[in-house]
């Protein structure tokens, strides 16, 4: 496939891995060791998925540790908002439409899939636009779309509201849960538990917002960030670019994904977001807590399309299951296999936590693609620690 196959060439990947090894070995500014590796965070769940799918983590030297960030909208969805979505879906007159990603996310008592099994009219759609014909075919019922995702997905929700308005569809609304990537990064950088050396920036979010919003990361927090594509060569080249910045003593925002990302982003999409949405004072993120100015809500002049205005919702904050350690995993301070329920009580078939639900979640990626050599290494370390203790 054009624009895909060219970026999956194994020989080029080997050359990039050689260059990564060279940069780790040969520069006096960065002297990582396997005991104190460089910590690079890939923010986006799409990158996490690619890193595991193509075995990138295993191919890197052990002087580089990839930390899997919170850029998976399903993973950061708090249980209280899920409960609100399920409460909406269970209203007798509602047809609840959602992307497939959100169907199996556990709320405090059930998931949307379980609500559907119990009789709620929950329908999976490919695009928010697909909800509009459902609304037109069912004029006596209210069709609600579960709007989730970062800035990548927010324009599609906004444009769907504008389309509903243009067509005079009144029985359609959005339960908006769109979140913003930069405030989440700042929350991570303000967390003293997490020491990061650089970032692989989210490619598709950046097609919308451009590269300028990340300047706070380089200028205020002095961390290099490289906006990256999703193919294996994209990710490897981005790692090279971050290492090169560290070697040069630079902290800049660079763009590896220039075939799709422009500095200014996509004006049409940004205008649609700004027309329909405004920024919430704060929004709850699973694992990260409440982050100010980190979510989008529908503006008052589009209240007709706002499910939170049309319906009364439970609107409760619900703590995560006691056994679930998704919060620490999303912050990058705990490896998935160190979670007490990983692969035993919590599996993709029966997830307790959100990181095991989505294919972009770090737990699901470790479970599906296996990092047995890494896990084995950790087990050995644990055994060594035990010997020392004894």
């Amino acid at each position: 496939m054009k624009y895909v196959n060219e970026f999956r060439d194994p020989q080029t990947a080997q050359a990039l891995i050689k260059e990564i090894n060279r940069l780790c070995r040969s520069n006096s500014r960065i002297v990582p060791t396997s005991e104190k590796p460089l910590k690079l965070m890939e923010i986006c769940g799409g990158h996490t998925h690619s890193i595991f799918k193509y075995g990138i983590e295993a191919a890197l030297p052990d002087t580089i540790e990839l930390i899997h960030g919170p850029g998976c909208p399903v993973c950061v969805m708090p249980r209280g908002r899920l409960d609100d979505a399920i409460a909406l879906a269970e209203q007798p007159n509602v047809i609840f439409t959602t992307f497939g990603d959100a169907m199996r996310v556990p709320g405090s008592k059930k998931s949307l899939l379980q609500a559907k099994a119990e009789g709620a009219d929950v329908r999976m759609v490919y695009s928010p636009l697909d909800a509009l014909p459902i609304a037109k075919e069912n004029p006596d019922r209210e069709v609600v779309f579960f709007g989730i995702g970062f800035e990548t997905t927010a324009p599609s929700t906004a444009l769907t509201i504008l389309q509903a308005e243009a067509e005079g569809i009144k029985n359609f609304s959005i339960f908006a849960n769109h979140v913003l990537v930069v405030p989440a990064l700042e929350a991570l950088l303000n967390n003293p538990d997490l020491q990061l050396d650089g970032f692989i920036g989210p490619g598709h979010v950046s097609t919308i917002i451009g590269t300028k919003p990340y300047q706070v990361i380089s200028e205020t927090y002095h961390k290099p960030l490289v906006v990256s594509g999703f193919e294996p060569l994209d990710i490897l080249q981005s790692i090279v670019m971050v290492l090169q910045q560290l070697a040069d003593g630079r902290c800049e925002v660079e763009n590896q994904y220039s075939r799709l990302v422009q500095a200014k982003g996509n004006k049409v999409a940004l205008d649609a977001i700004n027309k329909v949405f405004t920024v919430r004072d704060e929004f709850e993120w699973r694992g990260l807590g409440n982050i100010s100015q980190s979510g989008l809500k529908i503006r008052e002049n589009y209240a007709l399309f706002d499910a939170e205005v049309k319906f009364t919702l439970p609107n409760r904050q619900v703590a995560d299951a006691a056994a679930c350690q998704c919060g620490e995993i999303l912050k990058g301070v705990l490896k998935p296999w160190r979670c007490q329920v990983f692969g035993t009580a919590c599996t993709p078939e029966n997830p307790i936590g959100t990181c095991m639900v989505s294919s972009e979640g770090a737990c699901a990626a470790y479970y599906k693609y296996g990092r047995l050599s890494t896990v084995g290494k950790q087990v050995k370390i644990k055994k060594t620690e035990a010997k020392v203790v004894n």
């Binding site: 260059e19 799409g46 995702g149 970062f150 097609t207 919308i208 990302v261």
Partner: protein, 82 residues
């Protein structure tokens, strides 16, 4: 969630609603071009463009010369390391 797949616009199906048929790896699907149409790029001019498709919308055009430039830089690394 932020999954995007490259595809080529093969037919404008509804100019008023900015809808087009996009060929993604051999599968053709109707996609909204609302994010990529503006005064500079009227809908008729989009035919043949390569775009990134996400949840039924074309998010952006793929810049062929930038893609070639990235591939050239990758080849330079291959040359340096071999």
């Amino acid at each position: 969630m932020c999954l995007g797949i490259p595809g080529q616009i093969v037919e404008i199906t509804d100019a008023n609603n900015k809808l087009a048929l996009v060929n993604v790896g051999g599968v053709k699907r109707q996609v909204s071009l609302a994010c990529i149409v503006d005064e500079e790029h009227p809908i008729e001019s989009c035919l043949g463009d390569w775009v990134l498709v996400h949840v039924g919308f074309a998010l952006n055009r793929i810049d062929e010369s930038e893609a070639a430039e990235t591939l050239k830089m990758l080849q330079e690394i291959v040359a340096l390391t071999s």
